[in-house]
């Protein structure tokens, strides 16, 4: 018994040590981004003694980032150009001019719209694959799944061509629509929706629900945590898109990755500005992740990997 407790203690100690070490190693780059964003470039790039404690140059760095001509990283209040003034009814209808969007806002905006749209499409398609029988179901499903493999960097030229024909160049829809029906999302939704009991749907049918009501009144609400998990995956996917947004979007509509890449000059890399941008760009995803983390754990594979 004595021996047993000692071994248990050693085991616990090792486990803690391992997890703690992992956490520290994981935090180093993030901590360094945060610290570096508050230092002068020469301070954090110094080869002799890198500073590991925060300095006071954050605002200066941020200002130099914001002062760049070709990148608007964070937006600022804009001008409301159009409004209707009908006494108590006061409508601004050029909504986006209330705030000139910088890369941060653009990225958030695009990622949110994309995530919402994609959740809708993926859950609908997943519902169809999970709960209905139809001809060519399997071939269609596998065809969609196969596109998971496709590296989108390699579709840039034909996609660009297509977008310019559709008049979608320099338009956020161009980086939202092509992958709105996300194959991984469809796969996950299909796997999760298979765990919805058929009786539940039939019960609703007996209650008089239409097929579409089955989807949005029964299937969607029971899939909340899976949807939350998928939302994180989709958001991250869009958040990190780089090459196609670079090619299709013009200045003023840049998303964060494109904007950050603009800080890499022909001859010089503006590391101080990159650090500020990197630090700032972590925040939205961090918040989203924190917010949805519980659902992410429980929802990622409620039934995701059966079979």
């Amino acid at each position: 018994m004595r021996e047993e407790t000692r071994r248990e203690a050693v085991w616990q100690f090792l486990t803690y040590a391992f997890v703690l070490l992992g956490a520290v190693v994981t935090m180093v780059p993030l901590y360094w981004i945060a610290v570096a964003s508050t230092l002068k470039e020469s301070e954090f790039l110094s080869s002799t003694s890198p500073r590991l404690l925060p300095g006071d140059s954050f605002l200066a760095n941020f200002e130099s980032l914001q002062a760049r001509q070709n990148v608007q990283f964070v937006g600022h209040p804009g001008e409301m150009t159009q409004y209707i003034d009908l006494g108590p009814f006061y409508f601004a209808y050029d909504f986006w001019h209330l705030w000139d969007m910088g890369a941060m806002e653009s990225s958030i905006f695009v990622a949110v719209v994309y995530t919402a749209l994609s959740l809708l499409l993926c859950s609908m398609a997943g519902f169809a694959f999970a709960k209905y029988e139809f001809r060519f179901k399997k071939p269609i499903f596998y065809a969609i799944l196969a596109t998971l493999i496709l590296p989108i960097q390699l579709l840039v030229i034909p996609l660009f061509l297509l977008m310019s024909q559709l008049g979608l160049t320099n338009n956020y829809w161009a980086i939202i629509l092509p992958w709105a029906a996300n194959p991984l999302g469809i796969f996950l939704m299909r796997q999760n929706m298979r765990s919805i009991p058929d009786a539940l749907l039939e019960s609703a049918r007996m209650d008089g629900a239409t097929e579409f009501q089955l989807y949005y009144k029964i299937a969607l609400p029971t899939m909340k945590s899976s949807l939350a998990a998928l939302a994180i995956i989709l958001f991250l996917f869009q958040w990190n898109l780089f090459l196609f947004p670079l090619v299709i979007l013009d200045q003023g509509k840049y998303t964060i990755p494109v904007a950050i890449n603009q800080l890499v000059g022909a001859q010089r890399v503006y590391y101080d500005q990159i650090m500020v941008a990197a630090a700032l760009s972590v925040i939205p995803v961090f918040l989203l992740f924190l917010f949805l983390q519980k659902q992410f754990v429980s929802g990622i594979l409620a039934g995701a990997v059966k079979e």
Binding site: L45, S47, Q69, N70, V156, I157, P158, F160, L161, S164, Q165, L166, T169, N170, L243, L246, V247, D250, Q251, V258, N261, Q262, L263, V264, G265, A266, Q267, R268, V269, Y271
Partner: protein
């Protein structure tokens, strides 16, 4: 297997809603030049010719506006001439500043997909041949002839911009090479760069430096840069006039031997180009000199401002005694995509000719940002005679202006990137002693020949 062209009448465009989009991929069939169809233009190409054009040349009406893409300092330079141009010629020129690699990616996407190109864009001479070869650029030779400014540019600049009698870009700047050195470091160790004539002498002088201090930097990620510069200095050509691979010529061997000697003599540092360590070494004087295009002065000034006055410049050492000391590193042009509609192209050309073809404006850009003009007639200006504070008052401008016209032409081709890869790969083997200089250039030449289907010279 060529597909018949749209002349065949029996084929018509299906006007189905879904297919209309696809069918219109590059302008509707039957309407002729796609540049005039909806498919080809950009957001700027309104085709609106009502703008107050004061063009002195004839030709199609000009669009009111045009967009020009450039990167970094170059874009800022162009921006300097934006206002004077608009005041004098009307129109509305937008200079868009995009990161260098990003701009290339964006512009190439537009070239390859046949749509979305700006009115005009910057193009490095290194890239010129392959971009021209896509067939996506506009032949501006007629306009060039009309403007009569072709002869005013240094002749070595035109090679890669021309193909089959067409001219596809207007030269902008060149990079006459100089060797920039830290006066204080050299003086401290009793080295007099101004007395150096050849690389061999320079290496010998460099040996006077103590351990931990280097004469120059020879970065393993950029062998091709130094090689190309020296090769050109010797009048070498990577490809013969009939297209055979020529990087294993005697001249190339000479260069390879010098690079090898630089490495073996221990006078060369090995820091990745443009890395912060690279800059720091120049700032601290641990790397005492830097051979690069004239434009490097502006960069050094910006990055290492506190070393101002401690620098000097000489013409690059010759490969052999009495050899040429003129060569080039870098340089850009401005080009127009074929897909751009005539009116917008016309507007873009008008701006280009105004900006790049005039002494006055080239000098403005030189003085402000150190963009060294390819416009030879500009060299007469006394702007080149002004002492540089950064170079301790040295009149380096005049030195470069003397070098510029002597620069030998160089045959950039679509396969230039292959040469770059091959040289870097095999020179690395050479530096480690795995290959002799002769073996290295032979292997590089063979690799290029194999991969491009060209013959060996």
């Amino acid at each position: 297997m060529r597909k018949p062209t749209n002349k065949t009448g029996r084929r018509r465009v299906l006007k189905g809603a879904g297919l209309a989009g696809l069918a219109g991929l590059a302008g509707c069939v039957g309407t002729g030049d796609p540049a005039q169809s909806d498919g080809g233009g950009t957001s700027e190409s309104g085709g609106d010719s009502s703008g107050g054009s004061t063009s002195t040349t004839s030709g199609p009406a000009m669009a009111q506006s045009a967009e020009v893409w450039g990167w970094d300092v170059a874009a800022k330079s162009l921006d300097l001439i934006d206002e004077p141009y608009e005041e004098e010629h009307g129109g509305d020129i937008t200079i868009t500043q995009i990161g260098r690699a990003d701009m290339k990616d964006k512009f190439k996407s537009t070239l390859l997909s046949g749509s979305g190109a700006p009115g005009a864009a910057m193009m490095e001479s290194v890239d010129a041949a392959s971009w021209v070869d896509t067939g996506g650029l506009r032949d501006i030779s007629d306009w060039l002839a009309e403007a009569g400014i072709k002869d005013e540019f240094v002749s070595g600049k035109w090679g890669p911009l021309e193909k089959d009698g067409g001219t596809y870009a207007l030269p902008w700047d060149i990079g006459p090479v100089g060797t920039f050195y830290r006066r204080d470091v050299m003086a401290e160790h009793d080295i007099d760069p101004t007395s150096v004539e050849t690389w061999d002498q320079y290496i010998e002088e460099g040996k006077k430096l103590p351990d931990g201090q280097y004469l120059l930097n020879l970065p393993s990620n950029d062998y091709d840069g130094l090689w190309r510069m020296m090769f050109r200095q010797l009048g070498g050509q990577p490809f013969t006039s009939n297209g055979a691979v020529n990087i294993n010529s005697d001249k190339s061997l000479q260069v390879a031997r010098i690079l090898k000697r630089l490495r073996d003599s221990g006078v060369a540092n090995d820091l990745a180009s443009w890395s912060s360590a690279w800059f720091t070494a120049f700032g601290e004087g641990t790397t005492a000199s830097l051979t690069a295009g004239a434009w490097i002065e502006g960069t050094l000034k910006a990055e290492l401002g506190d070393t101002a006055g401690k620098w000097g410049a000489i013409k690059p050492p010759a490969i052999e005694s009495g050899g040429s000391r003129a060569t080039n590193w870098g340089g850009s042009n401005v080009t127009i995509a074929k897909q751009v509609d005539d009116q917008t192209a016309r507007r873009a050309w008008d701006y280009m000719a105004y900006t790049l073809g005039s002494k006055e404006h080239q000098l403005t850009m030189y003085e402000e940002y150190g963009i060294f003009p390819a416009l030879e007639s500009a060299y007469e200006s006394d702007a080149f005679d002004q002492g540089s504070e950064f170079l301790d008052g040295q009149e380096a401008g005049r030195m470069f202006a003397e070098v510029a016209p002597e620069i030998a032409p160089y045959r950039y081709t679509v396969d230039t990137p292959e040469v770059t890869k091959a040289i870097n790969t095999h020179f690395r083997d050479m530096m480690t002693g795995n290959k002799t200089p002769k073996e290295a250039i032979d292997a590089a030449a063979k690799q290029v020949a194999d991969r491009t289907g060209r013959d060996l010279a």
